[in-house]
Symmetry: C2
Subunit: 332 residues, 2 copies
DNA sequence: CTGAAAGCGCTTACAG
DNA sequence: CTGAAAGCGCTTACAG
């Protein structure tokens, strides 16, 4: 297919009566005489000239592209994250290159390398999955955002998931629950590990409490099935802590399907506080994570590192907040 | 910032003992002797060589990038669309460049031009907003997907929104409602126009029915406020047709907040059938749009056009389906 | 089948 | 302050 004719800096230069390099300098802020600058900008405006990103990134320096790895876009958690990331990048004149689960991690990395991204924001890092490591091996700066990896040599930001697990446990214990279940997130995710460990520890410390654990994989359908089975058991729990809000929604719906009234016979606590959770029809008790702030800090850590690769690695932990709504109550 | 060392085709060529152009031919499928090919691929594998997209798109032909304009990612409708679009593009070895509402339409177009996208999928086209026109003016192939523009010289795909409006109207009229309200989507959106017109016509034809119209802008908060006000009026409607599911959720929640039982005192019909609508806690009566199919057909129309720019414009209208759930009932 | 060469549209030293 | 020139990493005719 033939390339359609596009205005180039050479043509701008010719029409403005200057050298092509002068056009470049005008656009990138080199020293140019005011009158020359005016003349060039006039021609630039006339054609609404847009310099080719391909040429620009080929010639060196930076591509202006930041890879953003978000596996499951359909979890309502992530679009908020994309938006926050995109906002910060846009303020700095950068573009985002999205990698989702339509491709394998392997393919994603290959693409990011071909595109020559300046750095990568990982939001879905998994223990034992070497993608983040392989990315740094290629010399690409990385930030772990939301989910972290212990001892990983890069900047990291996450919510205080330990406190999140504790707050959930204390709330349910405080209401008097003694038969509790935990719907776990993806096994290799730091969020699930930290929330799980803290919740388990706190519940174990209480004594005389039964804790059942089931896998929800941070996924609606998986959690729905798991909770359905759980509720059908001979001695179902009176309270549920779900490692994220989406699984809590699944629990609420599975309970509704099973005719188990919430919170009368089943209390449900989530984690995230996605906007849906505040809906009257849902009104989920949950632990709020500063989602947009996590995204923002993540991008900023990465951009700081691009400016200065020798900065020591930083690891930020942002505070969470318990949000009591109407899905929890004392056991019947 | 210094460019980190990356393996290039020149180095691959040197190590394989061939010319750089031979490496290129091996990778792009030119005629190469089997033994030569084997040797080159071996070195390519050894370094996991990834050819620079910047260089590739600079030198001509295509950039392999498709722009996708989706304004509101937080409407759960759109992530599904992104996913479907991305899946098809990925199958064809293409990448997506996302434009959302973090930037103005103007800025979005400038970016797409700089990136040299091969084509653009518009999902949020608006009457009177010249972005799609300006894109085609730049010679960039365009497809209008989901929302269309009357007489626009490009391929278009949409759901049968006229039938959607009719089905919603007939359902509510059939239940016996005589005081009905319609929560409209964004004024310039074809979806809102078509659904609105059809619903209005059908209701008008029934006779003796009061139809109130309010603006919801396809936005949760806007619709929530509008419905709240409506329900507080002296003679509130007994049924609501919302131009999309998100506004229907807002209506359900506003009704809950106002203590108006659904469907006993208020019936609510949405449009889209996003996955949330099937949740037990929501269980929304709505009109299903073949969302993924719309995305898929849209991308395919665009890709066909890239292969053959002289194809006549096609305009596909995909069937909708009424989905009766529990938010509608006869008036009290 | 294979190599040498041109050129895509820029940025960046380097002269002047 | 400004221009001429090199070069980024590829693809694509063009020879042989």
């Amino acid at each position: 297919m033939a390339r359609r004719p596009t205005v180039t800096s050479v043509q701008i230069a010719r029409e403005a009566g200057v050298a092509q390099s002068t056009v470049s300098r005008v656009l990138n802020g080199g020293s140019v005489a005011p009158e020359t600058k005016r003349r060039v900008l006039e021609v630039v405006a006339k054609y609404d000239f847009q310099p080719s990103q391909a040429a620009r990134s080929l010639v060196g320096a930076r591509s202006g592209l930041i890879g953003v790895v978000i596996r499951d876009l359909t979890n309502p958690f992530y679009p908020v994250m994309v938006k926050a990331v995109e906002r910060v990048l846009h303020e700095r004149g950068l573009r985002l290159s999205l990698v989702t689960d339509v491709m394998s991690a392997e393919e994603g990395l290959a693409l990011l390398r071909r595109e020559g991204v300046d750095g990568v924001v990982f939001t879905s890092a998994l223990e034992g999955e070497p993608l983040a490591h392989r990315t740094t091996d290629h010399g690409i700066p990385v930030v772990l955002c939301h989910r972290t990896l212990e001892g990983f040599p890069a900047d990291q930001v996450e919510a205080d998931n330990v406190t999140a697990g504790e707050l959930a446990a204390r709330h349910l214990l405080g209401l008097g629950h003694r038969r509790i279940a935990m719907v776990r997130g993806v096994a290799g995710a730091s969020t699930a590990q930290q929330r799980g460990l803290a919740f388990r520890r706190e519940v174990g410390g209480a004594g005389g409490v039964t804790l059942t654990e089931i896998d929800g994989a941070y996924d609606y359908s998986t959690a729905y099935e798991a909770v359905r089975t759980l509720l059908a058991s001979s001695e179902p729990p009176t309270a549920l802590f779900c490692h994220n809000d989406v699984m809590a929604y699944a629990a609420l719906n599975a309970a509704a399907a099973a005719g188990v009234p919430v919170p009368a016979e089943l209390s449900v606590v989530g984690c995230d506080d996605v906007s849906l959770s505040a809906w009257e029809r849902i009104d989920l008790t949950t632990v709020r994570q500063p989602l947009e702030r996590i995204a923002q800090v993540g991008v900023e850590l990465l951009l700081d590192r691009l400016d200065d690769p020798d900065l020591p690695h930083r690891h930020e932990v942002l505070p969470v907040e318990f949000v009591e709504r109407s899905t929890t109550a004392p056991p019947a």
